[in-house]
């Protein structure tokens, strides 16, 4: 079981790196979907299966909402609109490496401070929080910001599931995830139409 959990942590390392360095929204959303599988697995280390499933389903619904919205919008990916420098993929890979090292360094200390969380849970959660915040820092694109917020929140949910198992919290967190997805979709759509086109529709 431990080995599977570590594999899941590795999967999340790959998915969040893909979200960070890839400019194709289809690949990024696919990686986010896979990331929610990891969230499901790690959160069920402490939560009942059903509550973990809520996180997975809510996450996939968010992916579907964002995907459908982006599919309906014309235009290429927003690579050219990125204003943050440097923009290179290798730079981002190095940043992911830094985050991974920081997460690895903090994991054992947090596990010592709060025993019982599980090394994999702490490592996976911290890495997702770090890469989500990193994503927020290096982009101005609405879709990528939404992905960053969702990634950060996914990391938090993994760790918080270990300390809080309330049904209401799980439900509210699922609503927050869905709300972020819908808000991201709204922000993606807004500005795509003129007020006249909107009135006609």
């Amino acid at each position: 079981m431990n080995m599977i959990a570590w594999i899941i942590v590795g999967l999340m390392l790959v998915t969040s790196t893909v979200i960070l360095i890839n400019y194709d929204w289809r690949v990024s959303l696919g990686a986010l979907g896979a990331q929610y599988l990891g969230v499901f697995f790690l959160s069920t280390q402490h939560l009942p299966f059903i509550m973990g499933a809520v996180k997975l389903i809510a996450g996939w619904m968010v992916v579907a909402v964002l995907g459908m919205t982006r599919l309906g919008l014309s235009g290429a990916d927003n690579k050219s609109e990125e204003t943050f420098l440097p923009r290179g993929q290798w730079f981002r890979v190095i940043l992911v490496g830094v985050i991974a090292l920081m997460a690895a360094g903090s994991t054992t200390r947090i596990e010592e401070t709060i025993p019982g969380l599980g090394l994999q849970v702490v490592a996976g959660g911290l890495f997702l929080i770090g890469s989500g915040i990193l994503q927020l820092g290096v982009t101005s694109d609405v879709l990528r910001i939404t992905l960053g917020l969702l990634t950060m929140l996914a990391g938090f949910e993994i760790i918080y599931a270990a300390v809080e198992s309330s049904v209401l919290v799980t439900g509210l967190l699922a609503v927050v995830n869905l709300g972020l997805g819908l808000t991201g979709s709204y922000l993606l759509i807004s500005g795509a139409f003129t007020s006249e086109e909107y009135e006609e529709a």
């Binding site: 917020l149 950060m152 309330s166 919290v169 972020l180 808000t183 922000l187 807004s190 500005g191």
Partner: protein, 464 residues
């Protein structure tokens, strides 16, 4: 019927229904419902049986949702009067602002969610409800045909970042309680909690989204946001201070709260004095006032609750009047840059007078609503730290300079421009009520005593 159904579920559902109504009815339904809810809270005490002839009415305190309770007790009654009373002003005022239907619909849902945040038990879960309310604000700020600017994106990021910090620090706080004296753990919790509230309240330098929003979004909607979210965040923060009393008794944490408040007030006041956009001035004034509220919360005094609510109640009125005036002026000039609003005092005298009254009230000008709370705050603060008083005073001075600059530009009309009233009767009525309220509270501050007498009962330890 239970109180959470009346003050949370009903406004939320009616908020959804308003979306399907015509634009002209929305402000009256939204405002009327809020007024009715405020009156119910005022006239019918929660959890007390009332006998009307043969009919017995009793509003029970709680409902259970997914194993947790939403509780609105008798002590919450006056808070509900205040919340829905001020909300009704905003919804009636929406008649004068653009897109009243969307404002009243989403606004009611936001107020209902925020009310749920003060009712939920354990109170820590309020962070989740505040985040939901923040997400509902987004479609209100940005119409579907407007490209989102940096302000709205930053607002979303900051509000979302706040939630994990607060939820996690709340969990850590229970650990700190059991191991009192563990300085390391206390510092960690204090830092996490501080960061969470810094994101929520927009403590320096995390308030940069506010002036941006005042430029890129409707001033009326942004004004509503600047009233609603900080008000409930402050009540949530007071809940923390009440539940974990060691925060206020710890001199370091108390000083940190005071320092954060003074930093907000001083920097926002100074920035306001340098603005060339009256919307941004309003944004900075709102930040400075939030700073004063944070400062009041950090005071080592038994008057913390009274002072905080004394600042909070007029704030709703000031921001409503200010935002409505800005919305009326923006219809005429589109941009709110000083160069664009030059000489408008002769074309929109009532809107300009109302705007300046609200601005001066926020600077604590005598006879206006902002004066009595600032007097109370100075009195307490001067007894504790003269240097903090000086920096807070500097911020207020900055706001005063901004108001004088705005006034000078408004009256700088070209020679021979005739005076005319271009506001509609509804604008005049709404602004008239608002300005009258500002003077009423300023001249007779004891009218607030009606609220203030019962609000400390909301907290078990704070202010005792």
């Amino acid at each position: 019927m239970s109180a959470p159904i009346i003050w949370i579920l009903i406004p939320f559902v009616i908020g959804i229904l308003i979306f399907f109504l015509a634009d002209e009815y929305a402000p009256f339904i939204g405002g009327g419902l809020s007024m009715a809810l405020a009156l119910i809270a005022l006239l019918i005490p929660i959890d007390t049986a009332l006998l009307l002839g043969s009919l017995s009415i009793k509003i029970s305190t709680s409902i259970e949702v997914l194993g947790r309770s939403f509780i609105l007790s008798t002590a919450d009654g006056m808070l509900l009067v205040m919340i829905y009373g001020v909300a009704s002003l905003w919804f009636f005022g929406a008649y004068a602002a653009n897109n009243a239907k969307r404002f009243c619909s989403l606004g009611l849902m936001i107020v209902a969610l925020l009310t749920a945040s003060i009712a939920v038990e354990p109170f820590l879960y309020a962070a989740l409800l505040l985040e939901m309310a923040a997400m509902l604000v987004i479609p209100l700020l940005i119409p579907i045909y407007q490209k989102p600017g940096r302000g709205v994106i930053r607002f979303l990021i900051y509000q979302t970042l706040a939630m994990p910090f607060i939820l996690f620090s709340g969990w850590m706080l229970t650990g700190v309680e059991t191991s009192a004296g563990d300085l390391g753990a206390t510092t960690q919790v204090g830092a996490m909690l501080g960061l969470g509230f810094a994101f929520l309240l927009g403590v320096f330098p995390l308030y940069n989204w506010i002036p941006m929003l005042m430029e890129e979004a409707s001033p009326y909607v942004t004004g509503f946001l600047l009233w609603a979210l900080p008000t409930f965040t402050v009540i949530f923060a007071l809940g923390f201070l009440d539940r974990y009393t060691w925060i206020t008794t710890s001199p370091q944490l108390s000083s940190a709260i005071q320092f954060a408040g003074v930093l907000m007030t001083a920097t926002a006041g100074l920035f306001a004095a340098m603005q060339k956009h009256i919307g941004r001035m309003a944004g900075y004034a709102a930040i400075a006032e939030t700073g004063l509220i944070v400062l009041a919360m950090g005071l080592r005094s038994t008057e913390v609750v009274n002072l905080t609510f004394l600042l909070l109640i007029p704030r709703g009125l000031e921001l409503a009047v200010w935002a409505l005036s800005l919305a009326i002026i923006k219809r005429k000039v589109y941009s709110l840059r000083l160069s664009e609003v030059r000489g408008l005092a002769r074309k929109y005298p009532i809107a300009v007078f109302a705007l300046l009254s609200a601005h001066l009230s926020m600077t604590g000008f005598p006879l206006l609503a902002g004066f009595p709370p600032r007097m109370g705050l100075w009195q307490e603060l001067a007894g504790q730290s003269l240097s903090l008083s000086f920096w807070a005073f500097l911020g207020i001075l900055g706001l005063l300079v901004a108001s004088i600059r705005a006034m000078a530009v408004f009256v700088m009309a070209e020679e021979g421009t005739a005076w005319s009233i271009n506001e509609s009767w509804m604008h005049i009525l709404m602004l008239g009520i608002g300005v009258a309220g500002l003077f009423l509270v300023g001249i007779f501050p004891q009218v607030l005593q009606f609220f203030l007498a019962s609000l400390p009962a909301l907290f078990e330890h704070l202010g005792r």
